[in-house]
Amino acid sequence: MDIDLRKLEIFRDKIRLLTLKELHHMGFGHYGGSLSIIETLAVLYGEVMKVDPNNPDWEARDYFILSKGHGGPGLYATLALKGFFPEEVLYTLNQNGTTLPSHPDRNLTPGVDMTTGSLGQGISVAVGVALSHQLSNKGNYTYSIVGDGELNEGQCWEAFQFAAHHKLNRLFVFVDDNKKQLDGPTKDIIDPLDFVEKFKAFGFYTMKVNGSSLEQIYKAIQKGKAQTDKPVAIILDTMKGQGVPYLEEKADNHHIRPNPKDEEAILTAISELEIKLGKAGAMTI
């Protein structure tokens, strides 16, 4: 592998740390779905995507659309670390008058390419962005993360039909397959059956990877880039609350208002990450 995995691990840990700190500071929020996308965000922003924090609107950039908008806090931590805005801004998450609302807003936050939060809509916009670049013969890539619950929405599957028909090979759809939605296990609410088979049937170049493995995510993206006639789907085998064992196990981990036990576990996770990063000589964020 041609990447510095060590460096990427530190980036991942920093994103997780800041995501926890920012949510903890607000007092409540979407912990589960913010934490499950951190490895993917680390690979995209740490290694893969062409972006310029000093010029968020740079035309040649790669686009990122967080279709499962409630994962916003994870994206914000990533953008702060990349230098799109200062870390302090993270602690205004969801406060009155903030530039960092629960769900990403392209008009409020530097580095946020699209406003999302109404599930199912972001992915269509990602398809539109990819189509636009294809029509103009531009090389920009478009990356989008959808939730496994979000894929209940019919609009997602309209977007996928369109993307495959137009052979949008520079579109990457990541499915955060954390097996849960708001009310419980996805399997019990609307059984998704087999995402790999579904995406293949919809004409995608489809791979399934361990969504907590930086290496596997990176390699899948490289493989996806090597082919030229299909949009790419990467099914991420993840867990809600990923990277914090206590939160992974907590049954009700979609939106958390910490009770004293949760509070203790979150604070422990924060200090463990700080110690780990300190040992790696990487505490200065």
Partner: protein, 318 residues
């Protein structure tokens, strides 16, 4: 009935969502044709607490609001009585054509409940904050549109619409509302409730703005202005006679809603008055703005939905 002297308006003991869940449970247990539909927001409206008791009559359709509305129409087509719930924007903005065509145009019997209305969507922010839902549903021919102000009213209307054929939309908040009515109060369709009598101005409100209007009336009284306050929970059909009667008596009308001033209560009242009794009027509500994150109290200030804003509006037309 409200005591005009009371200066504090207490929150109810029961949350609106508890009332929704317990009433649905009662309706479903008494009538096997009642089917509640949800779109992955059961835990937000407390129906997760009743699912074990009415399996088969409470269905989580997943995050598929448009499909859920169509499924409701299909259930209605075969004699069931569907109650469809999601946040207000998802059952209206998101599924409007399905509601319009499969529900209303096909003349089917579908009950819709939109929760977390307006500023009470708080930290879900702009994508989730519906200021348009009343306007959208009001546009549908023969639809019945309600915005409830308290838990007793919600429970009553949920029971009442079970017996009435057609499209019924109820807008509500999820958490505690100010308690306004005692248990045995009744609520007719097409009627408003006069909560307080005053001869100088009429304040017509719905939802959370009813309590805000009562506070405004207290403030006005301190300044020698006597306000009538009407809870106009039935937005369509609307109580034309009551509006005209009080406009004629007080010669000044202010409406107050946690909604865009276009399309909802303010529009409905001005339509009545401009045709039947032109009157000096102001509309308190959201003006040319989208939602955003924040605490409800902050958002009320931001969008000028407070008792003080009502007082200011009253004084403009006094």
């Amino acid at each position: 009935m409200i005591q005009t002297s009371s200066k504090t308006y207490e929150l109810d003991d029961i949350e609106m969502r508890q009332m929704y869940a317990s009433t649905l449970l009662e309706l479903a247990q008494n009538n096997p044709n009642v089917i509640a539909l949800e779109a992955d927001l059961m835990s937000a409206i407390s129906t997760n607490k009743i699912i074990g008791k009415i399996p088969g009559q409470l269905i989580n359709s997943g995050i598929m609001e448009a499909n859920m509305m169509g499924v409701a129409a299909g259930l209605a087509l075969t004699g069931k009585i569907p109650y469809v719930h999601s946040f207000a924007q998802f059952v209206t903005r998101r599924a409007f054509d399905q509601l319009f065509v499969s529900g209303a145009y096909a003349q089917l019997n579908v009950k819709i409940v939109g929760s977390d209305s307006g500023v009470t969507a708080e930290h879900n922010g702009g994508t989730h904050m519906a200021f348009e839902d009343l306007g959208l549903v009001r546009l549908i021919p023969n639809a019945n549109v309600y915005e409830v102000s308290d838990a007793v009213q919600l429970g009553y209307l949920l029971r009442k619409i079970e017996k009435e054929y057609g499209i019924h939309y109820i807008r509500t908040i999820r958490k505690k509302a100010v308690k306004l009515y005692d248990e045995n109060e009744t609520f007719e369709s097409g009627k408003g409730k006069v909560l307080r009598e005053g001869s100088d101005v009429t304040i017509i409100a719905s939802g959370i703005m009813v309590a805000e209007s009562l506070k405004a009336a207290d403030l006005l009284q301190e300044q020698g202005i006597n306000a009538t306050v009407i809870d106009m929970y039935s937005i369509k059909p609307i109580d034309k006679d009551l509006i005209v009667n009080y406009a004629d008596k007080t010669k000044a009308v202010v409406t107050a809603e946690n909604h865009n001033v276009i399309g909802g209560l303010g529009s409905a009242v001005s339509e009545v008055l401009s045709e039947h009794c032109p009157t000096r009027m102001r509309r308190i509500g959201v003006k040319e703005q989208f939602g955003q994150v924040g605490k409800a109290e902050y958002l009320k200030e931001f969008y000028k939905l407070t008792a003080n804003d009502i007082v200011t509006a009253v004084k403009e037309i006094q």
